[in-house]
Point group: C4
Chain length 210, copies 4
């Protein structure tokens, strides 16, 4: 163990290593958030209730949350896989996103203990809206400001920006819906549909060119 | 940190990175599920019981579960190590498998607090059956539909498909057995034995050809 | 699986693998410390308090802690990304740093259950001071004693040494401040400002030369 | 994402990937075991006790355990870094070692809640002995039976086998000591000293030849 590595660490190695570690930290946090979401399930069998009934709601919340974290992970994987390296601001936005992902088990525990109250739905929806807005901010910064994903076409980059923003808009519509603010629901739904339409339009434009 | 990486991110890099991250997320979840299974052990010393007696059942459940998760991990490792890359549907099936692996500590906690009741055995067996069916679905899709493992021979691919399916069949036999549905036990055991026979037959065919 | 890898494992491979694994273990512990910090949040709604009020303090403590762990992680990433490999003493210092990072969720839980008492602030500040001192010790050893980062200029290496030391000094100032030892506050603040000045001076010297 | 990776997955890639994943799973479990050990610390301030007194014992147990897991990790890192690939039995022994590492937080929780009783020391010592015996079994199998570390000299391989075995012997001596079986203490200490002597002798022989 006394023989040292002789190859110099070049600047581009440093950039690559920065990206590699961001990916490792991210996957770690995603993995733990998913597993801790499961551990929050503590089904309690009420009298007169079968075991299967006691497990229904917890399992439903768990698989819903798994779907949500899983989708965020898949979008995150797509974003990061097209980067050459990452800078300080991109890392900061990514860490912010991870801080929201790590909160997911807490939101799930809250939802499981407080039931289907109005405020539960609102907190769940708000958490979702902020998370997807953060995903959009990450991609928007990396692709359009820092220009760290030059191998993705302009059209595709826009499609990938509008997609999470539309999820964000739909989530805020749910928050308004739980509060019975129907004007808010209408506006957010409209914004969400427009964003989704824009997203699929740019995706089509990209496919035609390729 | 101002010098940027100049090498373009090619499409095949993206595919490789997608697979790498799937592996990282998977290993993270396997690792946490295993460690959280351990943390659920809370041996309580009843009066008149020695310390060693209090630890016997929890340790037995723990090592059994470790064996089960460990086997799933080894099969998962074998599947993924033969892939060139992975697509969206394969990722989705893999995430479903991970959602089941992440549930394992909850199932163990349930088994530890509810003892050797009939329903405990059934939930344990059902969880096992679904998990191994999901492993089979993952390999079936990747090898036969998406054709992402072209370096594995047809015979070996079939052997690896029937193997987890047979575990699944034997697990359902246990579920039926706990419910005293002896016809179900007989059918499932028969299916399981047939699948295992098929699996070892294809494995032999592969060895002869090589 | 019977075909063995034929390439020999050279000593420099061993060095690289040692560094790789240190990075993996580190990122694992950072990821779990962050996620477990979140899981400690158990907002309780007191009578007459709205749900949003109950979440304010926990979320504030969480994001503050996330910021602190995130900054330590970013400095750690910068240090390790410039290493060619790592030796036994460097590994030991790194493990000590990780043992402090892993304690962060416990400190946060303590802060959340004990409120804004004097001792809470002191423990938080002391934890911070020791952690950043450990970061400085890691870089100081690797860059100046073991000379494992020969690709970083002397000036930059000094700037990176004084930076975490200044954070350490400011944290001790907070500890003294909570204990109302104003002389201690003054001395520590002075030391902290000097270190920060030194750090930015060496960073400037490095930029001029390059 | 429609362009597929074209390079075939060769058998030696499979071997390398198997080893890579074993490393990833191992580091994940080590990282979580360490962090969960910390989370078990729940210092309670008894009346008339200062805050610092309440934290002394928990922190002592934590850092002791961190040292133990850290040492196992460093030996594990050394073993694995000299492997070219890994086979099924090696994986199984490694998983057994991981199952013991994952139990460490449970042992620590037990030690923290049961205090310095005789049985606490015995369980702690026994856990240590089994873990280090498992480390020795891992290296013994990989180096001497499967011959997967051909780049390590025969002498060094023996030194690395006797070293963990000596820790194991000393730990059993502690178990006997807590039970006041002085003959057992004497025998185990003697075995431990002999093993340590053998280990340093082979290490010297290796250095002389190189």
């Amino acid at each position: 163990m006394t023989i040292r590595v002789e190859e110099p660490v070049e600047s581009r190695h440093v950039g690559q290593r920065h990206l590699d570690r961001l990916v490792m930290l991210s996957d770690g946090i995603f993995a733990i958030a998913i597993t801790l979401s499961a551990i929050e399930l503590k089904p309690e069998q009420l009298p007169g209730e079968s075991l299967w009934q006691a497990w229904t709601v917890p399992l439903y919340v768990y698989f819903l949350s798994f779907l949500i974290i899983g989708l965020v992970w898949m979008i995150h994987r797509r974003i990061v896989s097209h980067l050459r390296d990452v800078d300080g601001i991109g890392t900061a936005i990514n860490l912010t996103l991870l801080s929201l992902v790590a909160l997911m088990p807490v939101v799930i525990r809250f939802a499981l203990t407080h039931g289907a109250q109005r405020e539960t739905v609102q907190i769940y929806g708000l958490g979702l809206a902020i998370t997807y807005a953060c995903v959009a901010a990450l991609w928007g910064y990396l692709a359009f400001i820092a220009k760290l994903a030059p191998d993705v076409s302009r059209h595709l980059a826009r499609a990938w920006l509008y997609q999470p923003l539309s999820v964000s808009a739909f989530s805020i519509a749910v928050v308004f819906g739980a509060g019975r603010v129907w004007v808010g629901v209408a506006i957010c739904a409209l914004v969400g549909i427009s964003l989704r339409w824009l997203s699929s339009r740019y995706q089509r434009l990209d496919t035609q060119k390729a």
